[in-house]
């Protein structure tokens, strides 16, 4: 049951700041246990082991995408070399095997790596939803410390159990500071 604030803007969520990693993990664990699902933690560096405390999904799909694209690129590279050097214009050099697959390995390897790397980069951007220069949190005053030394937890309004007053109280209990409701722009 969403509590609509007097402001005309839709609510994005409620944010609270925590002093360090310990406090963030402790608070995050309680938030997860309270049944909230659309949550996120923000920090200047990745917090290792956060999946043990908060329900933050691990990255499972990205490596498989990279694998399959890389594999297809490798197969395509072999096919390209076969077609170009063996089929379309066969290179007859001193009676050497026309399909000299050992010689074709370096280019195959490089094409695989190049395709995998580019895929990793593009998939990463896709999964992170970036570039997204405008975001309600980025314009929230005080949030810019996230890239310096501050740690935040956000519960989004999309959450089925979202209740602004309850969440404010919860964060207060957990020792959150600068608790605030963030509005959509």
């Amino acid at each position: 049951m969403a509590y609509s604030s007097p402001s005309s803007n839709k609510i994005y969520g409620v944010v609270a700041r925590f002093e360090n990693v310990e406090k963030l993990l402790h608070a995050g664990e309680k938030v997860s246990q309270s049944g909230y699902t659309h949550i996120d933690a923000f920090s200047p560096f990745p917090i290792h082991g956060i999946e043990k405390y908060m329900k933050i999904p691990r990255s499972r799909l990205l490596p498989w995408i990279v694998f399959f694209v890389g594999l297809s690129a490798g197969i395509s590279a072999i096919f390209m070399q076969w077609w170009m050097n063996t089929h379309d214009y066969p290179f007859l050099i001193g009676g050497k095997p026309i399909f000299s697959y050992p010689s074709f390995l370096p280019v195959t390897f490089e094409c695989t790596v190049l395709a995998s790397g580019l895929t990793t980069f593009l998939s990463l951007l896709l999964f992170m939803g970036l570039p997204k220069p405008h975001h309600p949190l980025l314009s929230h005053p005080g949030f810019e410390r996230v890239s310096d030394d501050a740690f935040f937890i956000v519960i989004e309004s999309k959450d089925p159990c979202f209740d602004e007053i309850k969440i404010h109280a919860l964060f207060k209990n957990l020792g959150g500071m600068d608790i605030a409701t963030v509005h959509e722009e």
Partner: protein, 462 residues
């Protein structure tokens, strides 16, 4: 007469990664401060260095222009000695680049936390070094506007395709892949730090530029899950990539039949040599930069010592390769092979050979001594000697095998002014880009180095 002493147990504290246990904010300050200087308050040292670098870049542009107009004849290459400074410089620059990838990728896979002090810096060096390296295979073809097009698998008017058996074609694929992957890896690593600079921006221009470059990165751990996965994939891809790239470069020689070149030891020998020379230049430049930008708290003496240890290991590998080559040349019973090696040590290029041997085999062995590993002066001198020695190694390999390869035509290579100018010019290209990097981008991976602090790992371990 000895008495049994009671066992003394003393818990030794490991040397801290960062000196003085700086707070997260302090780390941000130390690294961001030089970048956030107003343009007009840029330190004079930077301006002078940049002016010199720009003039050397000008020399580069001039030399390349003159080369394209007049042709390869302006170099010292002769009919016999088809490769001179051009390929020496190519292999040297590519080698320099390999240190960055080793630090970023290999040390990451080995979970060496100290790498975070130098990885951003070394990766930037890799990208600029590979750019410089690329110049040489392109230009040494004589008519690069034709040759480069024909190296790509693109349709041409003759209806033929590249010869995929050729190491030059392999080089092209390898270097383009290496450059692209290094650039992407470096950029992905930069995203959190660009966000830091965006969040601290004091002028609108900086806010917009860093804002666009950081793409709206906001430190979300949901994002970090994908980010860390991607980072791991990059590290896992880059490791075999760096090994394959310099192996492919070594194939430029090993796939030929020349004595001294046609040896299976070349791939591991070259890769070890590349890491060796790369660390040499990273060390040389880092000593200047950490003093100039005030980074001593983050790039500690422990980090420098570790770099020296890596130089010791790779230098020993290279020395071992020299000895193996010579032994096999004798043991093989091949008169041509053995002659080539005797010629290197005692022939007209003995001067180059012994510079190479002393710089690569002898001086780095001093790093066995801790006092020398920790002495700034010693490591500065040795790192410069390593760079010089490794340049001479490539020069010796290339020219000594070529200058007497045809028994009826012994020759001697003399470098011309243009050989020297174009080489100096690539330094101009490198340092121009490098100084711009130091001025506008964080020289240390802020987010990564924060991740190694105790504050980031309250429950210990990774």
């Amino acid at each position: 007469m000895t008495q049994a002493m009671p066992p003394i147990t003393q818990v030794l504290e490991p040397e801290p990664l960062l000196q003085g246990n700086p707070s997260l904010t302090q780390i941000t300050e130390i690294v961001s401060a030089p970048v956030e200087q107003e343009i007009r308050l840029t330190p004079l040292t930077w301006k002078i260095c940049f002016a010199i670098a720009l003039s050397m870049l000008g020399i580069f542009v001039f030399s390349v222009g003159y080369l394209l107009i007049k042709g390869i004849g302006i170099w010292g290459n002769t009919n016999n000695i088809g490769w001179g400074w051009d390929i020496t410089n190519f292999v040297w620059w590519v080698g320099i680049g390999h240190a960055g990838t080793l630090i970023s990728a290999v040390l990451f896979l080995f979970r060496q936390k100290w790498r975070t002090a130098i990885n951003r810096f070394a990766e930037a060096m890799t990208i600029f070094a590979v750019l410089c390296a690329l110049m040489f295979p392109i230009l040494h073809t004589g008519r690069p506007w034709l040759a480069v097009y024909w190296l790509f698998p693109l349709p041409n008017q003759m209806g033929i395709w590249p010869n995929f058996r050729s190491p030059l074609v392999w080089d092209m694929f390898a270097l383009i892949t290496y450059f692209t992957i290094s650039l992407i890896f470096w950029y992905v690593g930069l995203l959190p730090d660009l966000a830091t600079l965006r969040d601290r921006a004091k002028t609108k221009l900086r806010f917009y530029i860093y804002g666009i470059l950081s793409m709206g990165f906001r430190g979300s751990n949901k994002h970090y899950q994908h980010y860390e996965k991607a980072y791991m994939i990059f590290a896992a891809l880059s490791t075999p990539l760096v090994l394959s790239v310099h192996s492919i470069v070594s194939f430029d020689f090993a796939t030929s039949v020349l004595p001294g070149w046609h040896a299976t030891i070349f791939p591991p020998y070259f890769v070890a040599g590349a890491v060796f020379s790369g660390f040499g230049l990273v060390m040389t430049l880092m000593l200047f930069v950490r003093r100039a930008l005030g980074l001593k708290q983050l790039v500690t003496d422990r980090v420098l010592e570790n770099m020296n240890k890596i130089m010791l290991v790779t230098g020993t590998l290279v020395g071992f390769a020299y000895i193996t080559e010579f032994f096999i040349a004798w043991y093989s019973g091949s008169p041509a092979e053995f002659f080539t090696f005797k010629n290197r040590a005692l022939g007209p290029y003995a001067w180059a050979y012994w510079i190479m041997m002393s710089c690569n085999l002898i001086f780095p062995q001093l790093f066995w001594f801790k006092k020398i590993r920790r002495s700034i002066v010693a490591m500065f001198v040795i790192s410069i000697l390593v760079n010089i020695g490794m340049w001479f190694e490539r020069f010796v390999i290339i020219v000594t095998s070529l200058h007497r390869m045809i028994p009826a035509r012994w020759d001697y290579f003399y470098a011309t002014w243009f050989d020297v100018l174009i080489y100096l010019g690539t330094f101009g290209l490198f340092f121009t880009l490098f100084l711009l990097f130091l001025r506008f981008l964080p020289a240390i991976a802020i987010s990564e180095i924060k991740g190694t602090t105790k504050a980031a790992n309250p429950h210990g371990g990774d």
